[in-house]
């Protein structure tokens, strides 16, 4: 998949201009039959270092934009690239199947695992079908069902988090969105099988945490994870959603910030330019990191696993004790 230039982000513009210029020179040289390879190489080098420069110094808000990039790989693409023999399992057995949250059986290397993840659409039509990846309560109830199934059969659980938030809608409230999210969180704290969580894009509050409790929490370099969207925070705090960039800064939502407070265990580096510029490379790195982390916990005694998980989430608060 090629990075569609129509989706380039604001801060990439100088880079895109250079790339355009390279293309123009190349065409010109071809047309006039003259050798301009030296000139091209020079600009290419300039573009490369500009790219490094841009992506080394991304602001939190720029990372949010990368995390929300329409071409960012989704769960189904990662499934294809990371796992083998995926069998999707549907439904919560209570109301309906929620296409915004996908789950099923798969092999990771040769380990049978249960996988679960938010699924955004890859085009408008699919986005409507998948409700832009925002689950209703039945999505979380399906997740709970499949996680308990995994526990029954002793399969490790791998979850992929990429959600703007649990869906805020009338029907979602009628069917108990809050209860479904809470129940999923609660169940995950006591599941007797290893859980590895990968935050791949948006970590949107409770809707993310509902499949985000685990023994190892990994996070892609440009993903974000936050208690509230930067826009929501800005509109509460300053009555002005357009100050989202400031809020993104204040909320400390980047992978680096979260590693510093031990909310995540590890940052997974992305290809230069973001995961969408090279999904295969991205998937390869994710697979390697999941495997290594899973191997470290897969043989732990369930009681030890649960004790460690309890302690992990027990010490995440920062308060004053007089």
């Amino acid at each position: 998949m090629k990075n569609g230039s129509k989706y380039s982000l604001d801060f990439e513009r100088p880079l895109k201009e250079l790339e355009k210029r390279i293309e123009e020179i190349r065409l010109f040289a071809e047309e006039k039959q003259i050798d301009m390879s030296e000139e091209i190489a020079r600009i290419e080098e300039k573009a490369r270092s500009l790219k490094v420069e841009i992506f080394k110094n991304l602001t939190p808000w720029q990372k949010v934009q990368i995390a929300r990039h329409p071409k960012r790989p989704t769960f189904l693409e990662y499934i294809e690239l990371i796992f083998d023999g995926f069998i999707e399992l549907h439904g919560d057995r209570l109301y309906r199947d929620d296409p915004a949250l996908v789950g099923g059986l798969a092999y990771l290397a040769d380990i049978p695992v249960t996988i679960l993840g938010h699924q955004k659409g890859r085009d408008t039509k699919e986005n409507i079908y998948r409700n832009f990846g925002m689950p209703h309560p039945e999505g979380y109830r399906k997740a709970i069902r499949l996680m308990k199934q995994a526990e029954k059969f002793g399969r490790p659980i791998i979850t992929f988090v990429d959600v703007a938030g649990a869906y805020p809608g009338k029907e979602a409230e009628e069917r108990g969105q809050g209860e479904a999210v809470a129940k999923a969180i609660m169940e995950m704290t006591v599941l007797k099988v290893p859980i590895v969580v990968v935050i791949t894009g948006e970590g949107g509050s409770g809707g993310a945490l509902a499949i985000g409790v685990g023994d190892r929490i990994l996070m892609l370099e440009n993903a974000y994870y936050s208690v509230i969207s930067p826009e929501g925070c800005a509109s509460i705090l300053w009555k002005d959603a357009s100050r989202a960039a400031e809020a993104a800064e204040a909320l400390r939502i980047t992978a680096e910030d979260l590693l510093a407070v031990e909310v995540i265990d590890e940052i997974i580096p992305e290809p230069l330019g973001g995961a969408h510029t090279n999904p295969e490379e991205m998937a390869g790195t994710i697979k390697e990191r999941i495997l290594e982390n899973l191997n470290a916990i897969i043989d732990l005694d369930p009681n030890e696993l649960l004790t460690k998980r309890y302690q992990k989430f027990r010490r995440l608060g920062r308060y004053v004790e007089e």
């Binding site: 938030g165 649990a166 869906y167 805020p168 809608g169 009338k170 979602a172 409230e173 009628e174 069917r175 108990g176 969105q177 809050g178 209860e179 999210v181 809470a182 129940k183 969180i185 609660m186 995950m188 704290t189 006591v190 509050s205 409770g206 945490l209 409790v213 994870y225 936050s226 208690v227 509230i228 969207s229 929501g232 925070c233 509109s235 509460i236 705090l237 009555k239 204040a250 909320l251 400390r252 939502i253 910030d257 979260l258 407070v261 909310v263 998980r309 309890y310 989430f313 027990r314 995440l316 608060g317 920062r318 308060y319 004053v320 004790e321 007089e322």
Partner: protein, 299 residues
């Protein structure tokens, strides 16, 4: 997500309230003063004028229309628990400013001064109808009853305490959700409180969650919705997402009574709606149902 709660047009008048039971009953938060001396208040629902002393005597429930005014944590503890039985625990845990959030320190200072509360939840042990229990009571005046690290930690500790001492637990939720001023650490309190609750459950102990106006966002989506028995006060706003967010996102028209206690009861989300004046009695009965006979079942 819950901006409509924080943006509420109402201004709550707060007066001095000490953390001693006797004086607490005179606090008048959430009650709009209509006259300068505060003798009369106007019911927010039926607009009737109520003599303030009558309102207090009636546990801040409008005698005419049964509208439940919000009440503070200490007021609740006072009317609910057997006199003199409450012993506060973990009062030494308070909020810091862990992510250096703009304006948070000032906000904390201001709220502490205005409410004389140290934190958004009061935790401890006491008795209702002679039955000992562990208790967590939130207070909306403390940054909208929001759950940050300290609120989460206090709840976790009271749940752990209950599990250790084999006590039933009752929480009173009133909250706009997670405290965004502590960023992701607030979100993590949802997991921390839930997992501590599972320790209570493992011991076979009763957990009753009482939802009061409002209980939304991260508090509803964690411990508050996981009671063995869930009770709500009448007319309380209870839900995951705020009505404004829902309307902006979905353009749906929301029916009258949406996300109110009665709506939740109808949709199967809560067990009971109990008038504040009946709450003590109901809790006592429920607690008595779950009192353990000595080792009959397990041996």
């Amino acid at each position: 997500m819950f901006k409509d709660l924080f943006r509420s047009k109402q201004k709550y008048v707060t007066i001095r309230q000490r953390e001693v039971p006797e004086s607490a009953l005179h606090a008048t938060e959430t009650v709009k003063k209509e006259l300068p001396d505060g003798l009369w208040v106007k019911c927010e629902k039926c607009n009737q004028m109520i003599y303030h002393k009558d309102l207090v005597k009636n546990l801040k429930v409008c005698p005419k229309c049964q509208y439940h005014f919000r009440i503070g944590a200490w007021e609740r503890i006072n009317y609910l628990l057997d006199p003199g039985s409450f012993q506060e625990l973990f009062a030494n845990i308070t909020s810091g400013d862990p992510i250096n959030f703009p304006g948070y320190r000032e906000k904390l200072e201001q709220v502490r001064k205005a409410t004389e509360l140290k934190e958004g939840v009061v935790t401890g042990v006491g008795k209702i109808g002679g039955v000992p229990l562990a208790l967590g009571v939130m207070d909306f005046r403390f940054i909208g009853g929001s759950m940050g690290s300290a609120v989460g930690e206090k709840l976790v500790r009271i749940f752990e305490y209950a599990a250790e001492h084999e006590l039933p637990v009752v929480t009173f939720a009133v909250s706009g959700g997670a405290r965004m001023h502590e960023g992701i650490l607030s979100l993590m309190q949802m997991a921390a409180t839930c997992q501590a609750l599972s320790r209570v459950a493992e011991k076979g102990l009763l957990y009753i969650s009482v939802l009061t106006d409002p209980t939304t966002g991260g508090v509803f989506a964690s411990f508050a919705s996981q009671g063995d028995i869930i009770i709500a006060e009448p007319g309380a706003l209870i839900g995951f997402a705020g009505a404004r967010v829902i309307q902006q996102t979905t353009r749906q028209t929301l029916p009258p009574g949406f996300q109110r206690s009665e709506f939740l009861l109808e949709h199967g989300m809560i067990d009971l709606i109990v008038n504040r004046k009946e709450l003590r009695n109901t809790l006592a009965r429920l607690l008595r149902y779950h009192q353990r006979r000595k080792r009959v079942i397990n041996q």
